[in-house]
Amino acid sequence: MKFTIYQESRIGRRRNNQDRIAHCYSRDALLTVLADGMGGHLHGEIAAQIAVQYLTEAFQREAKPRLDDPFRFLASGLENAHYAIVGYTDERNLPDAPRTTCVVCVIQDNIAYWAHAGDSRLYLLRGDRVVTRTRDHSRVQMMVDDGVLTEHEALRHPARNRVFSCLGGDVAPQIDFSRRTPLKAGDVILLCTDGFWAPLGNEALARGYATGDVTAATPAMMDCAEASAGESGDNLSVVAVHWQEGYDEDAASGVATETMPLDAHTTQMQGFSKGGGAEPDLTEDDIERAIAEIQNAINKYSK
């Protein structure tokens, strides 16, 4: 695998940063994850923290060095993260359940797989074009899809921050999955919170990354977003991957993973705060164990 990755999270004009981002890779697989704790809810940043931590830990456990089934990883990872947040809520008797959006992407064999809940987005950019992006779980997105609002109007709509799917809380999240998406050399995979995409819009964002130089483009685009959002600027976070498929052998800042030992992982997290570890209760664990056991048996006996 050969790629350049850049991640950054900024507080904007808020009093605290409830965004969390991380990436992690083994020799054969790359994980990127981003979560935006819900501002209106207490402990939003804890929910975001649990989600990001849960997914990276699961990746470290399972990518040895490949994930057997990336979609299954995404599905069970997000589901478990949701229950970990719920478990944390119950354990502390929190009156208002912490919640978070989450978008997570796995790249393996030059194929991207992603899933999300909420309005944090993944963009797949090629040249100066948006090849695809996630659809927000928001009423505003539904209005756009129904043709009631334009993309542009949606960016300013008062309800644009209202999401109907998230991790945590007592409604199980709706999680949308991508297709298996083959990548081309030069593609940019961008995970970002609404504090980043909303002030910029899709076109500006795609143009900003047209060079593929994620290390230079990301801070510059974040400056733009902050300037454009002004006084009300939200937290803004980005994880940007420039996929190089081994073509660009001597890019100085690139990461080449071929020489990594099979069980090694490199993890970068940002915005780690204390007290984030959630312990789902025992029965939840039992359920997960049972499912893992069945899945192991399925894999073992299907050969």
Partner: protein
């Protein structure tokens, strides 16, 4: 406990994990089975754990509502659903339905199976009432027993073999569905999730003496399913037979239509005393394969010679 509540299926088009729901295939007391498509547009059958005495999904809901007091029973039933998944996951046989995935969503659990095209033996019997040929019975059950042999080799019992749990693929090859073994444990944990033995197919020891269950218990159900093929309906239930045996033995009921050897085999399987039944699948398979003194289907020639014999006796 509201007895008559029915659960709403997930809506068509619903994205469940990495599958898209197409439609409901069946609604049982314990689960809903859906036809769905995976991300490569391949059809799968998804079984949703949803015991309707414990969990209710109303119109427009996704996650079922589970009353606080039902939660322990719901969780317990889930364990049993896991047993079904575990049992099937360990089996890889062309005559046993394949489980492909198992996951958690909407506060419950799901088992993804290979989608089989065809119809259940139950439907087949309904369509061909009284006109099922001997060769068909021998064929289907001999092959089905290959699958059951594998089940027993894994030290598992099916315990819910019946025509609606036997699926006939379009190529005629039968598949064993719905592992009732999963629900066996349910009886121990209060009244909420009693095992639902299907009257007519369950062996007497399933009602009276569960500690005496063994491979012979599945033999009874195989015999009863074969009986149903000939009769076009389920035989008298074993618990009723124990009180008042009114089941006409196959040998008395269809001596002119099927070979005596097949009829004997069916009656042998349906013996009330389990010690008298075939003890293993293999023993039963041998009997079904015994074709040397079998008249497949009474032909005009057989009828003619029988007629002659009768004439001579007069």
């Amino acid at each position: 406990m509201p007895a008559q509540q029915t659960n709403q299926p997930l809506p068509a088009g619903f994205q469940l994990d990495r599958y898209r729901i197409a439609r409901q295939l069946s609604l049982g007391g314990f689960s809903i089975v859906y036809l769905a498509y995976d991300e490569d547009d391949q059809p799968v059958a998804i079984k949703e754990y949803l015991p309707n005495s414990l969990a209710l999904r109303g119109a427009g809901q996704i996650a079922p509502a589970i009353a606080e007091e039902h939660l322990p029973a719901f969780r317990h039933g889930m364990k049993c659903f896991f047993e079904e998944g575990r049992a099937l996951a360990h089996l890889n046989h062309p005559n046993v339905v394949r489980v492909l995935n198992f996951f958690r969503a909407n506060d419950t659990v799901y088992m993804v199976m290979q989608y089989e095209r065809g119809r259940t033996l139950q439907e087949h019997i309904g369509k061909h009432k009284g006109a099922i040929r001997e060769a068909f019975v021998r064929n289907v059950f001999t092959r089905l027993l290959n699958g059951l042999r594998e089940v027993h080799a894994q030290r598992l019992l099916h315990l819910d073999i019946k025509p609606s749990n036997i699926y006939l693929r379009t190529d005629g090859n039968p598949v064993l569905l719905d592992f009732g073994a999963a629900r066996q444990a349910l009886g121990n944990d209060g009244p909420m999730l009693k095992p639902m033995y299907t009257p007519g197919y369950a062996a007497p020891e399933q009602y009276k003496a569960p500690d005496q269950m063994g491979p012979w218990t599945d033999m009874y159900s195989i015999g009863a399913s074969m009986y149903a093929c000939l009769a076009g309906a389920a035989p008298q239930a074993a618990d009723r037979r124990l009180e008042n045996q009114a089941l006409q033995p196959a040998q008395e009921r269809w001596p002119d239509k099927y070979s005596m050897q097949l009829l004997e085999t069916i009656d042998w399987c349906m013996t009330l005393d389990y010690l008298e039944r075939p003890m293993s699948v293999f023993e039963l398979q041998k009997a079904l394969a015994e074709r040397h003194h079998v008249a497949h289907q009474p032909s005009w020639l057989d009828n003619l010679s029988r007629h002659f014999r009768q004439l001579i006796r007069k």
